[in-house]
């Protein structure tokens, strides 16, 4: 059943609505969330595929799957990452406040709707600059509960990262604080869809549902992810402004000292910087957007210490 979890009037003859597709019935509940960042669209494919599979195999579903494909509908429809009007990152406005302004009111209503589910998966797609391998990101404080669940999701990598105060305003942190286990998936790149990654996550979600006792059809086997902490992730940032052109492939294994790419000056034909991997490992994040400033993230490599 499709319904709106919130409806807020906009200024000129339109309402902002956040839709939810509730499939199945029963005690167990899984929430699939995406579109908090309006420029991240990988989750759109997953939502579509999953809804289609669940509708066609309704007899095998035991429990409720709530799909929320557009948490930031104005952002998705206008190609903007944040919430239009306030131009703020919606994933820094949780848990919200029912008596606050519109954005806080919306985020509080979202938390209220999802809280109490047996599990929630919040699907992100990096940003428009960087391509990511399929991965799950978990705050170290919630690792004991979430890492065992993340292993079902058919992703390559589970990144257990340090806690940071600013991340307390994310949807995942708010829900995990309310004892609703919430997994953050990051995969692909903004403003694009990578159907291969989406297909893998759909298999992973069905595997997780089988584990939760919500799905009784056979599920393709999922390969175990690499589970790693911040200590094994190395960063490469641009040392200067220019255009970045890669020379190594995303998802490839690179050697320490191997060239990842260059920062170039198309005006003069000069190469401003040659960027090399500091460690041997998996090139799991790679910049696709060429324009860089000093500090722009170029790559992340999983390996080393």
């Amino acid at each position: 059943m499709i319904s709106n979890i919130i409806e807020v009037p906009l200024a000129v003859g339109e309402s902002l609505t956040i839709p939810r597709n509730r499939i199945g019935s029963g005690d167990k509940r899984l929430c699939i969330v995406t579109g908090t960042h309006g420029d991240e669209l990988e989750g759109q494919y997953v939502a579509w595929k999953l809804a289609s599979i669940l509708h066609q195999n309704a007899d095998h579903l035991h429990g409720i799957v709530d799909i929320y494909p557009a948490m930031n509908p104005l952002g998705i429809c206008t190609m903007s990452r944040g919430m239009p009007l306030v131009d703020l990152d919606m994933n820094r406005l949780f848990p919200g406040n029912p008596n606050g302004n519109m954005s806080e009111y919306i985020t509080s209503r979202i938390v209220e709707d999802i809280a109490g589910a047996d599990c929630c998966i919040d699907i992100h797609a990096s940003n428009i600059f960087l391509r990511e391998i399929p991965q799950v990101r978990i705050n170290v404080n919630t690792a004991d509960t979430l890492v065992p669940l993340a292993k079902y999701l058919n992703m390559d990598f589970v990144w257990v990262h340090a806690a940071a105060t600013v991340l307390e305003s994310t949807l995942a942190h708010s829900l995990n604080s309310l004892n609703t286990p919430t997994l953050v998936v990051e995969m692909g790149i903004g403003m694009r869809t990578t159907t291969e990654y989406g297909d893998r996550l759909v298999v992973g979600i069905l595997a997780l549902m089988a584990h939760l006792g919500m799905w009784d059809l056979p599920v393709s086997p999922v390969s175990p992810p690499i589970v790693s902490s911040d200590g094994s992730v190395s960063f490469i940032n641009a040392p200067c402004a220019g255009m970045f052109f890669p020379t190594s492939h995303h998802t490839s294994y690179v050697e320490a000292g191997q060239q990842i790419g260059v920062v170039a000056d198309p005006l003069t034909g000069e190469t401003c910087a040659v960027l090399k991997s500091p460690v041997t490992g998996l090139l799991f994040t790679l910049r696709e957007y060429p324009v860089v400033y000093e500090g722009s993230l170029i790559a992340r490599i999983l390996g080393g210490s």
Binding site: V8, P9, L10, A11, V12, G13, S15, L16, R81, G82, L85, V86, D87, L88, R92, N99, G100, N101, M102, Y105, N127, F129, T165, V166, E168, S169, F235, N237, C240, A241, G242, M243, D265, L267, V291, V292, Y293, E294, G295, S296, L297
Partner: protein
């Protein structure tokens, strides 16, 4: 007075972006640092700094020999020149990146370089703007970190001193990090942002000069705007939420006193013109904040009232 480039950021096809500082008084002393625009729409905040520089040029011989003052009017001409609020390359907010990180992303590096330049001063003033899309009556805001000295806020002579309990995102603002690193920090909110107001700038410049005089940095006699400023907790402000979306017509002025039942604003049908909703004051108090744009969505903070009886 000495003008200097604090640091500079290179770009692919634009000129390098300098962040400039103006030093007054004794350069070896770190008495007071003042930061203006960190966002591209904070034109009034830059304007206030420019007016302050002009006033201090006239008052240079009145600066006490042990006082050193640094003014950074604008750290984000990159965004200001192209009409963007946040860092125009990736839409991140410099004032959510403090204390900064020199090995990190571009705006983390910018925050790091700003923070290095303004760190270690006894006092820090940021000409800040609120994240809500509107304006408030002139006030000083002090973050409640456990290190704050709220009574020092009275020295600005502005009518209101608001004490704020930090939210998670506040921990990455300049004000918060100043305090954590032992600078007594104040955020000054003017009642203008994108559009310049000379009257508001005059108020703010006078309040900063009054503060400097109180702290023994400047030998001048400045009349405070307000003799008896009111200190209150920001959380005690009463939000007036509208339920209808439409065109909002304000019926009172910022800083005006209202009584319970007074009409604060009317929400009209934006096309057909009929009255959809009248927003009334729930209590006696002062109009502290008004939503800025003429258009307003439903469930916004249309207005905030500082109750007469709140502390």
């Amino acid at each position: 007075m000495k003008e200097q480039i604090l640091f500079s950021i290179d770009t692919p096809y634009r000129q390098p972006l300098p962040v400039k500082g103006w030093l007054f008084g004794n350069e070896s002393q770190k008495s007071l640092a003042i930061v203006g625009a960190l966002r591209g729409n904070e034109v009034q905040q830059m304007f206030i700094c420019s007016r302050l520089i002009q006033r201090l040029k006239q008052l240079e011989d009145r600066i006490r020999p042990d006082a050193g003052i640094l003014i950074v009017p604008c750290a984000n001409q990159f965004s200001m020149n192209v009409g963007k609020r946040f860092w125009a390359a990736d839409n991140t907010d410099i004032n959510r990146m403090f204390p900064g990180y020199n090995e990190g992303e571009t705006t983390q590096r910018i925050a790091d370089r700003i923070f290095r330049a303004v760190q270690g001063f006894s006092y820090g003033i940021q000409l800040a703007t609120i994240y809500l899309p509107g304006l408030c009556t002139p006030n000083v805001r002090i973050m409640h970190t456990g290190y704050e000295e709220p009574l020092e806020g009275l020295d600005f002579g502005l009518p209101y001193v608001a004490i704020r309990d930090p939210q998670p995102y506040d921990t990455t603002t300049l004000n918060y990090n100043w305090q954590i690193w032992n600078t007594h920090a104040f955020s000054l909110y003017a009642s203008a942002k994108e559009e310049v107001s000379e009257e508001s700038a005059e108020q703010m410049v006078n309040s900063i000069l009054h503060f400097m005089a109180c702290k023994g940095m400047l030998d001048v006699d400045i009349q405070p705007l307000c003799e008896h400023p009111r200190v209150f907790r920001e959380s005690s402000l009463k939000n007036i939420l509208n339920s209808c979306g439409g065109l909002m017509l304000k019926r009172r002025k910022l800083g005006e006193h209202v009584c319970a039942g007074d009409v604060l604003a009317e929400i009209m049908d934006p096309m057909e013109g009929s009255l959809l909703e009248a927003l009334t004051a729930p209590c006696d108090g002062v109009v502290f904040y008004y939503h800025g744009a003429n258009l307003i969505a439903g469930h916004e903070v249309a207005c905030r009232i500082l109750r007469d009886d709140s502390v």
